[in-house]
Symmetry: C2
Subunit: 386 residues, 2 copies
Amino acid sequence: MLVKKFLCAPGPTAVPAEILNEMAKPLIHHRTPQFDAIVAENAELLKQVFKTKNPVVTFTSSGTGAMEASVTNFLSKGDKAIVVSAGKFGERFAEICTAYGVEVVELKADYGKDVKPAAVAEALKANPDTKAVYTEYSETSTAVAFDVKGIADVVRKTGALMIVDAITAVGAMEFEMDAWGVDVAVAGSQKSFMIPPGLSFLSVSEKGLKAMEKSTLPKYYFDIAGEIKANGKSTTAWTPAVTIMIGLNYALKMMISEGIDNVVKRHFIVAEAIRVGVQAIGLKLFADVPNVRPSDAVTAVRVPEGVDGKKIPGLMQDKFGVTVAGGQGSMAGNIFRLGSLGYMDKTDVIVQLQAMELALKELGYKFEAGKSVAAGQKYLMDNMKF
Amino acid sequence: MLVKKFLCAPGPTAVPAEILNEMAKPLIHHRTPQFDAIVAENAELLKQVFKTKNPVVTFTSSGTGAMEASVTNFLSKGDKAIVVSAGKFGERFAEICTAYGVEVVELKADYGKDVKPAAVAEALKANPDTKAVYTEYSETSTAVAFDVKGIADVVRKTGALMIVDAITAVGAMEFEMDAWGVDVAVAGSQKSFMIPPGLSFLSVSEKGLKAMEKSTLPKYYFDIAGEIKANGKSTTAWTPAVTIMIGLNYALKMMISEGIDNVVKRHFIVAEAIRVGVQAIGLKLFADVPNVRPSDAVTAVRVPEGVDGKKIPGLMQDKFGVTVAGGQGSMAGNIFRLGSLGYMDKTDVIVQLQAMELALKELGYKFEAGKSVAAGQKYLMDNMKF
């Protein structure tokens, strides 16, 4: 029988059909007034999403490219950086720093936990020569949200830069670039922006712009100053992913029209409904709540005992049509991750819970059929404004 | 009245409607067997286009990203490289080398000319410690094709690597990665591959793979070894531009089905018909023929005296619907460039010549109406097999 397909991973996320159609129009050249207007408008609308008055540049790359830019444009060889991590993506910051000869002070916590602002304050006191603090906001691999506002409060009082991987956070959770005193934040197109992978974004504060002038690490393709200069002329330094830039323009208008605060609220309600749903049938979150805040972009669920966790994502996708994510690295088989990121509404809550119930039943887990779907639905009825 | 639109620039090029539709299908996740099969097949088909048995990796970036990778993965700080250039893109290689602390020996020629293999041989003799020779194949800014086969013949006898920007050459002009002894070649999606910008390709020889092991320049996002390793597992190191990878798969099958040698022959005939057409109304090529070979990806035409050259591309696009390119840098206003790259056939010859005639007439150039169109058509009738 027909099985409809739903992409519910924490990126790439589903792309609205109207955006797919927009990107399928005949290609236009990137050095034309028509495309210049898109570049200029995107740059302005991105500022609204990041809540900043300062530049947000766009690279044609995955989010990892923007993470690399957040190292190579702000530091010099031998500089010291504190890298806060408790998951795969935090670890990537340490790898990039190391690749470029930056001295890394790792502030690590176990997967599922976070690192508190007080620990960052202590590390900064012990390392007063720190040039930058790197942290995740929404650590996608563990579905934990770090206290970026609290950490920024600590870092802004020092000379160090506050640099945030907000790839699955911007547009999914409250984020105030300027008000919080974040210096550099990176994001990616295939997340809350609802468009295909291929673009990454980087927002930089005035403090960050000043630090850029002193940075001597080598860079060329990911040169932020070059992009800012090009954006000033409504163009890009290199040939951009034209179709995705056009999709971005459409998506940003959808987000602004819904209202960024409403977009964020929607992410919370969808994520919370999923959390309520999974827990209703006895499943546990991987995030160490209430000691940490769970991410509203993705929910990591512990695989219950006796169930072959590695089979859950494959079964949900191939048999029941719903693509979610498994665990990465040492978490493979121990967790599965349900998405609430991007083009998601009430329906994606129950579609995922339904497929999850069907997969878990097939894998031998015992629970009352329909209970997670009903719990998710009840939460939505109580909390979502229609 | 209706004005149909044609994208005839030397990249981005027009994308076949069937590929646009393919890319507009609901997004799939990049960590799935379905997408793994695409990654694996693309890697194999790319080898056929590059005519190599060795790996061809794909980056999500513009071609400039792959050019950067061709420096950072093969050299170490203080290494010496010979950069052969006679145009904007050759100069970019020198900029990248300089940004990464590579010592550059520039072998420059005037725009419109090339650098001969004998000059490279001499420079190699004078600089026996050269680690790599960087050269353009089709220099897009001047529409000159360098003698890459001849230069490779010189370089292969030394310890230096032969590294080629073949961004507008692969799939447009004869190119034999392995047979010619090229060590590294880069290309881009929005060129002969007929798909939107967003992907770049890099092919590496066995000699290149060995050199990679010794390279100590910093890299992370553009780490070729990481991509080769990931490709070995039918996946990618980072989240790729999924939709463009799917478009690439379709495009590669179209190219292989036409036959790479036929694709190349088509580019020559289309370009030659354009060259014949423009010269039929007294216009001169910018390429210093017969001293150099003109590129078959693009034709640079000198703006005739008394004509405001800066107005030609805008007029051709806005009034007559045909997007071509102007001159870059110091060539702005002095040349305009007609495309023969990618999804181009007989029709694109006369469509461009028609719009060019209309624009030139409006700008006051005196010529016999229809003469360039007729000359292009005659050449096609004599030379294209139908």
